[in-house]
């Protein structure tokens, strides 16, 4: 079991309001990702769930039990940090076992749990090393192992992949997804990277400046964003925002994803000039300067032979365009 309910959580640092009333339910076994730009309050919210920070207002319930006044170690949670946060003076084995030992488990129980976790993450060869003797990727696996050992109700991850290089990031991401399937545990995962959010989440919570912008399954957010912020944040490359004034005049902006813009040398709705071309092999990104919209991104499959400074025409795929009002809200 492990479901989490946040009601009306607020947090002030001095006079600055960092979390402005968050309501959220995470179901048992769900993988929930908080995503948002740097500084929007993701880590603060996660630390409030962990009990490392007191909420200024609101209620936190784990399995229906209010935990506002429960210290972190009694909340039956485990946390994985961006900076790994392994105990430098302990071996991998002791790092992983410390939590259980503190909770009063017998040495045999601790050893068994550590063995199980280290088996799942192939850490057996590293058990007697100290953190200083491990690479970054190995350290993060140990930190994840340390979380598993405790069999918590709730796993909390704070940007666990941010310190890893690109290749390791993909591997570790897959590993975390696999662990979630195997453990069927509830996980709350914080990241600023929408790719991580899309690939891992059952449910994404998009945060902006301390507020929840939208909650939903990855494809719901992608196909049906509530507002311009979510539309712009989810999806890579970023959505293009066209000025409605220069189109048909309805609403303020029209959002079109780069893959929903057709490009042609002969005719189209928007005239522009190519300012840059990025060829990635499987796809080609074409950046087109078109006044008054600014720089627009077009995404084409495979290799395309457009060159810089060419005059081109773009045509949005009208049914797949999103319309937003002056406040950034979606007009349906």
């Amino acid at each position: 079991m492990g479901n989490l309910t946040l009601s009306n959580i607020t947090k002030n640092f001095g006079t600055v309001e960092v979390i402005k009333g968050v309501n959220l339910t995470v179901e048992d076994g769900e993988f929930c990702v908080f995503v948002g730009p740097s500084g929007c309050g993701k880590s603060t919210l996660l630390r409030i769930i962990a009990g490392l920070e007191d909420a200024s207002g609101g209620d936190i319930k784990i399995d229906g039990v209010p935990v506002n006044n429960t210290p972190p170690s009694k909340r039956e949670i485990a946390m994985v940090f961006q900076s790994y946060a392994l105990y430098p003076h302990l071996t991998v084995r002791d790092n992983m076992g410390l939590g259980l030992k503190q909770a009063g488990s017998s040495a045999a129980q601790v050893a068994e749990s550590v063995a199980r976790a280290s088996g799942m993450l192939s850490l057996d060869a590293l058990l007697d090393r100290r953190p200083a003797e491990l690479s970054g990727g190995q350290r993060q696996r140990v930190a994840i192992g340390r979380a598993i050992v405790r069999t918590p109700k709730l796993f909390l991850f704070d940007e666990p992949l941010s310190n890893l290089d690109a290749a390791l990031r993909v591997n570790t991401r897959i590993e975390i997804a696999r662990l979630h399937r195997e453990l069927k545990a509830t996980m709350v995962y914080v990241t600023h990277d929408q790719v991580e959010a899309m690939t891992l989440a059952d449910k994404i919570v998009v945060l902006n400046a301390g507020r929840v912008e939208q909650v939903g399954r990855p494809m719901d957010l992608y196909n049906d964003p509530d507002n311009a912020f979510v539309a712009g944040f989810i999806g890579s490359p970023k959505m293009n925002f066209l000025k409605a004034q220069a189109m048909d005049g309805q609403g303020e902006t029209v959002g079109v994803r780069p893959e929903h813009l057709a490009i042609s040398r002969d005719a189209g709705v928007i005239a522009g000039r190519i300012s840059h071309v990025e060829k990635l092999g499987s796809e080609t990104l074409i950046y087109v300067r078109a006044e008054p919209h600014g720089l627009l991104t077009v995404r084409q499959f495979g290799e395309q032979d457009f060159v810089v400074d060419e005059a081109v025409y773009l045509t949005p795929d009208a049914p797949r365009a999103f319309r937003f009002d002056a406040g950034g809200l979606r007009m349906r």
Binding site: S73, I77, S83, A85, P88, A132
Partner: protein, 279 residues
């Protein structure tokens, strides 16, 4: 860039500067030590000459060892220094941890108040301190000295250590909290080992003024049984005649214990630095 930084000319220049400074710093110590082994006449005739078969004279050391209870003075100095050091580091680190780790009303104010002591010399309060010690019956005890030196060393210790404690990773402390470590375990087992270089620095800065101090031993604990080495050596310095052999011998001997303490801390210091580099 890296080529010029490792060029021999630069390296030689840097070493020349460092060596010159080392020579200047060590020269007085060198003069004291060589003259401690010479006869009185040789000290005045050729102060910079090394002792040879003719001028070698152990009279200074003999006087020191005969006169008073020098071993006791050493022990007193050691007790006072090590005791004060222990309390300065312990309380200084604890206060620094509280200041850097916990948000509470008046945090900054308390920090400023504690740091104020750096700027106000404790000797200004000598009369009040003496009255206090008389009232509490601590005159002529080593406890009195340990208390005063602890107070004297704390402001700088709190100031330096809280700066370093702020740099210790929050994630590490939080990981400990989630694993159920008490705040004391987090402080002693996780934080203190990581700021060992800072502790060593504070230890060296605290230890030397205490070892060298003449003022408070003279005022608070001048009894024979509580004399420190600095105070004990004063018997050889008279208003009209000074027994230079004995003074120099006493000083040479007094260098040894601090040297040992210093070596202990400086090894910690280097270990801390290299541990940080490897991470």
């Amino acid at each position: 860039m890296s080529v010029s930084r490792h060029s021999p000319a630069r390296s030689v220049a840097a070493h020349a500067v460092l060596l010159t400074y080392t020579l200047i710093a060590l020269f007085p110590v060198f003069v004291i030590v060589i003259n401690a082994f010479k006869s009185r006449k040789a000290i005045f005739a050729h102060p910079l000459a090394l002792p040879n078969a003719e001028t070698l004279d152990w009279v200074g050391f003999k006087t020191v060892l005969k006169q008073g209870d020098f071993f006791q003075y050493f022990l007193n100095s050691m007790t006072v220094t090590v005791g004060s050091l222990f309390f300065v580091l312990l309380f200084g680190a604890m206060a620094a941890f509280a200041l850097s780790e916990y948000r509470f009303k008046g945090n900054t104010l308390v920090g400023l108040y504690l740091a104020l002591g750096i700027m106000i010399p404790i000797r200004l309060g000598t009369v009040a301190i003496l009255q206090l010690m008389v009232a509490s019956g601590l005159v002529n005890t080593l406890t009195a000295l340990v208390l005063v030196y602890t107070a004297q060393g704390l402001p700088l210790a709190v100031f330096i250590l809280s700066e370093f404690m702020r740099q210790v990773s929050d994630d590490l402390k939080n990981a400990g909290r989630i694993d159920g470590l008490s705040e004391y375990r987090i402080f002693f087992r996780l934080v203190l080992p990581l700021i060992r270089p800072a502790m060593a620095t504070v230890a060296v800065f605290t230890m030397i003024p205490i070892w060298n101090d003449l003022w408070f031993p003279l005022i608070l604990a001048p009894a024979e049984s509580t004399k420190t080495i600095t105070l004990g050596s004063q018997v050889f310095i008279g208003q009209f005649v000074t027994d230079w052999n004995a003074v120099l011998a006493a000083l040479s001997l007094a260098i040894l214990p601090v040297l040992v303490l210093y070596l202990i801390f400086s090894r910690q210091l280097i270990r801390g630095i290299t541990a940080g580099a490897v991470k």
